[in-house]
Amino acid sequence: MSIRRPSMAERRSSMTQEGSLRPPVVPHLAGLEKPLPETVPEACDVVIAGTGLTESILAAALAWQGSSVLHIDANDYYGDTTATLTIDQLKTWVERVNKGEIKGYQDAVLYIPRGNEFKSKDFGIDLTPKVLFCKSDLLSLLVTARVYKYLEFLPLSSFHFFENDNFEKMTSTKQDIFTNQTLSLATKRSLMKFIKFSLDWESHPDVWSPYKDASIETFLQEQFKLEKAQIFELIFSIGLCNNNETHTPEALARIKRYLISYDVYGNFPVMYSKYGGAGEISQGFCRSAAVAGATYKLNTKLVSFDPKTKIAQLSDNSCVKINEQIIISPSQAPTDSKFLSKQNYEIQRLTVIVKKDCTQWFHDNESAAVVVFPSGSLESNNKQAVQAIIMGEGSGITAKGTCVWYMSTIETGKRGRDDLEAALKAMEGSILRESSDLDTQDYFDNANGMLNSVKLGQSFKDFVPKEKIQYILKFYYIQFTSIPHAGVVNPNLYRKNSVHVEDDVDAPDRGVIYSSLPSSEISYDGIVTASKILYEKVVGSDDDFFDVDFEDDDDEGSIANNLESAIAEDDDDDEHIVEPGAAPVEFAEDMEL
């Protein structure tokens, strides 16, 4: 730990004196101000290995804080564990995983049927697919750090929910609830009452604290008299919980996350970045770090680190003296490393690209959807939910007329794979039925003017598809992580990795700080927290984490200050569950009838 050093703004007083009333934060302007050095620097404050999203945010935060950062990656692409890969890159990745060259993954299988003509470059497959809640710490950080300017974000409003062999549209908005004719008046009232409560649940411990250690399902049944269908929707679609045993406070935080994100930018709770999710956002933060002076070097691996001399040996035969810390992703641990923490949690992922545009699942003018298969909804009698992110051609990650289905579950072993296959089968059946010509009975959902397909709500038990789904690829793998499932809102989970400097063990990773592999969470929640904790380990406190104040651009008007609250939020209270954002939401007000 070191004492807080002067920030970038303080250090660069010479730049800020002239001509400006308010001294703006002026970056290094790497390459503009001074000639670039020709070789890897011989010394730097921090070395970071791995350009995954957590590490990239960390690199940018440290660079803007004033640390000199050398950011390396063993791969020849950005993103590491959160990369967006072309099909050719995927092939190489699978080979390397199966040779044991990429830590944290196993059993990778890539199936590419013959006879399909495609361009590898037309596809960008995320190793860690995610969606961004409209009110979340990462969103605020993208705005504060101006990284959003490098990216394009698209709305996602379709959350489908699979039950009794059916795809159901979610009734998550007040319009949906009011107009849903299958709901009784009493149910509507209970649902409204619960939604209102959940927006401010922290202030009503009297209601939930008796259920602190009980499941959310019990809580919703007993306290709000909700029926199973609504309970499951709340738990699995809105809360994106893995199972109905999730503890009440945690599930409430997750449900609230969805509700407060709704109507922030429009009638959708989440967004995703075009051309690739976490892989794109990682690149954005790396660019931000580079602008602030960080040095980037791909194709470079840490060979060893000596905590006594503080010299790191890199795979290109160069050495770097590190003034402060070295942080590495477990995926890039040096050969024979000994201090990697146990990766006890398993995530199974199945990603397919189908030759169908799947527009039936998307809202008008959108290109993505979330589909959730709750516990017990699949043929495999799944215990854990299967969550799926669907991305069509408008997402910029897949060729015209094709669609990517990202499925994941926390179920382990063979059961996990069976669940994923069962979910795939259910989705195949659904899309074949919906895109078939047998049934063209569409209707307008008058209440919100949306064209909805009635086929979405029909069982497909009796449906015999005429065609088969054609795949461009099918891609399965197991990923491990040290982050417990669904525990992403608790900063404590990220504090565990400590630095080992035992003298008696000879290991190439003695004295390094490990970051963590991506969690099972399909939103970005937890990532900024993880970066902040690493930042704190380097700088001593996270008080000035991205404490930058860029001047506004000429054409964009004032920055949305109301979005920045989540970043400034204090998470020093470790026992507390940190909740991104807390402002009241518009539609909470007019919800009462």
């Binding site: 705005v143 490098y150 930018y265 979005l563």
Partner: protein, 204 residues
């Protein structure tokens, strides 16, 4: 933002810079942006990229978003994001360094491989003020540019000679109409503008 015409046309383009670090690609942009923008604010660069507008005619304003490599090209570590959706590129070499033209050529190959097909590329030989030390014949570079279908200029970032012309010529060559058209139906969300009355709203 200032004088408004009856029907002003506005289009924004992404322009990327490439070239060896010593050739002065950055000073060319510095010259371009500073010269014609008296209230130059450097902080904008730090946040994202340099921006500069050009008045093409009475009604038409073009805004360049100028992306510097920020040093990421040094170890061949330029991210795909850098090339994505770029409309124009300025590839700079130094007329007093023969090898720098060869580097510029390899960047142009990289651009043709990575970037959009309709990318407008300008090859710019810098340091025209050092005519006496010239190592790269104008004719040779010009011939190469013609062959590859590139715009070609010799400039001096130091004196400013020829700098504006690069950007002016690029602006004239860019597909203005299609850009205005595509920008008029934005589907992406502006993260700076949270709104409960978003145009993407389906239920008004």
């Amino acid at each position: 933002m200032s004088a408004t015409q009856q029907e002003p046309r506005f289009a924004q383009f992404k322009l990327v810079l490439l070239g060896e670090s010593a050739v002065g690609k950055s000073s060319i942009v510095h010259r371009f942006v500073k010269d014609s923008f008296d209230d130059f604010r450097e902080s904008t660069i730090g946040a994202a990229f340099l921006t500069q507008t050009i008045q093409l005619d009475e009604n038409t304003t073009i805004k360049f978003e100028i992306w510097d490599t920020a040093g990421q090209e040094r170890y061949k570590s330029l991210a795909p994001m850098y090339y994505r959706n770029a409309n124009a590129a300025v590839v700079v070499y130094d007329i007093t360094q023969e090898a720098s033209l060869e580097r510029a050529k390899s960047w142009i190959k990289e651009l043709q491989r990575q970037a959009n097909q309709d990318l407008v590329i300008a090859l710019a030989g810098n340091k025209l003020d050092l005519e006496s030390e010239r190592k790269v014949a104008k004719e040779a570079a010009q011939a190469y540019a013609t062959e590859e279908g590139l715009l070609f200029f010799e400039v001096s970032a130091k004196t400013g000679q020829g700098v504006k012309e690069i950007f002016q010529s690029i602006a004239e060559k860019l597909p203005l109409e299609s850009q205005i058209k595509s920008k008029s139906q934005p589907k992406s969300v502006n993260l700076q503008r949270p709104s409960t009355n978003n145009q993407s709203s389906c239920c008004s």
